[in-house]
Amino acid sequence: MNVDFTSKLHPERSLLKCPTGIAGFDEITLGGLPQGRPSLICGGPGCGKTLFGIEFLARGATEFGEPGVCISFEETAEDLAQNAISLGFDLKQLEEAKLLVVDYVHIDKSEIAETGEYDLEGLFIRVGSAIDSVGAKRVVLDTPEALFGGLNDTGVLRSELRRLFRWLKEKGVTAIITGERGEGTLTRHGIEEYVSDCVVLLDHRLQNGIVTRRLRVLKYRGSMHGTNEYPFLIGEKGISVLPVTSLGLRHKISDERISTGVPGLDEMLEGQGFYRGSSILMTGTAGTGKTSLAAHVVDAACARGEACLYFSFEESPDQLCRNMRSIGLDIARWVDQGLLTIHATRPSSLGLEMHLVEMHGLLEKHKPQVVVIDPLSSLLTGAENENDVTNMLLRVIDRLKQLGITGFFTALTGGGGVLEGTELNVSSLVDTWLLLRNLESDGERNRVLYVLKSRGMAHSNQLREFLMTKKGVELRDAYLGPAGVLTGSARLAQEAREREEDTRQKREAEDRRLAMNRKLCAAEAQILTLEAEKEAAERELNAAAIESEERQNAVIAQRAEMAHSRKVNLKPKGSQPKASEAGV
């Protein structure tokens, strides 16, 4: 978890913290319990106080090299050891390794008579010698208030307990004091007055037959801390305070894009798909294809070789595989290859927190890169109020983001409800929101998909028709007609009409082209004829010219011949009239 454990500004001045090693708790308290001071852990019977203390000691001894002392006022050392073993801590072994001392302080009123003044120096000596024997840094006093049941003089007890806590502080050990919750007070006898540095409240509540454990840091002097109620769990590995909600939005983000597995959808998201590590919400009414789309996302991820974790709250793994085969998606092979883990549970089988813990556990185990929760909305059935679910989802989303896992969630929206809202109010938490809806027209229902939002990309604003074919999900352009979006058979009819129109236009164009061609040909033929005529005319013209010249020459020659025959000297023309005059 990327939480700053110490203040960067004044590390030397900030309160030193003692990490408990308890999963999640150190994050909430930004480092653990106040070091060298006593802390109070209180809660009702069976809330896990003792275990908290035991885990604090066991983890201190094994993980942080700090030996510890447990002074138990209620359970014998044997009982404690036995209880701890079921949670994975071997106290006996730690005792043998000189890392732990368990001292059972027993007080039985029937054996004790009180007369005159006394103090609890004996207890101090016991605690002191236990601390010294292993050099303990951590001390747990498991319900010292049990002393009030054994001793009558509460005045002395109070002052002695107060002295004990102060003494522990002087010794510099980090102490946990557990206390049973009383009526209207944190502890039965009000010892919280004396332990005021850090108070942690444990609680378990029954809701709808499901127990939820919660932890709250009521007070932490001199330190910031998470103030919410955090669900926690007692599991095989001890306490896990869950879920860890980071106190800030500091997760790393990725610029990498991953395909949705549906080319048409990728296209709507700038042609590249989702951002890796983003959270995608897909809402829709019943039967709109949410699961099918989720399966595509999974299929695409597995095909890239990424591990996927699929939380199915409605279908069993086999059913899911079979149903996806019907649209041509063989996700069973990914299961066989170990890439895909389908975790199917009934939402009502566990409390929300248990679901959450289970999710955390599985995330840890499988280290997936894509997680699908299908559907989120069914978690509502097991929950008392929606706020809890929203809270839980916030934590899930947060967790996924921290781990850089792409989360794909589906949610069912009621038929009559607002489509652009989720009952869970998670819509503002997610990065991409896809909406699937049914459009009713012409006696049929058709699915359409659109991208309601997608942070950080110029996504398409188009409604697309969502088709489930034998080869998987396909997105088709939806037609916008005068009466709205055309889908289904209306779209098919429109497509047919367009095709028809198209061919008609093509045919007409061809006809026109042919007609023009013909015209052109005719014109060219005419040109040829005219040119031939022109040529003929020219030839004739030439012939006429030659003929006339020849005739001229012939006339001249004739005249010359005639003159010769008449023996007339040919005179210049000018004298000819004279000669003719003379002749007249």
């Binding site: 008579a113 006394y118 000596i125 010698s129």
Partner: protein
Amino acid sequence: MIAQKDGNSIPEYDLRLYVAGQTPRSVQAFANLTKICEEYLAGRYRIQIIDLLEHPQLAKGDQILAIPTLVRTLPEPMRKIIGDLSNKDRVLVGLDVRSV
């Protein structure tokens, strides 16, 4: 460590007084105890004084919390009386001693 106040090898009343150092309260308790024993159990008792400051590990065995604590190990069953033993009647009741 052990201040024996006479008695047979197996006294009827075997008493241990746990103290932590020589505090006025411890001294007072010891004085009160001796007085009562001498008065009611003369010759039938033994008192051991255990100083937990010297032997802290002994506190665990007899489940000692309060100081001073008087433990009657014999006769059975074990009884404990805590405090400075200033109330004679209560000490006698606590030790289950009837006046002779």
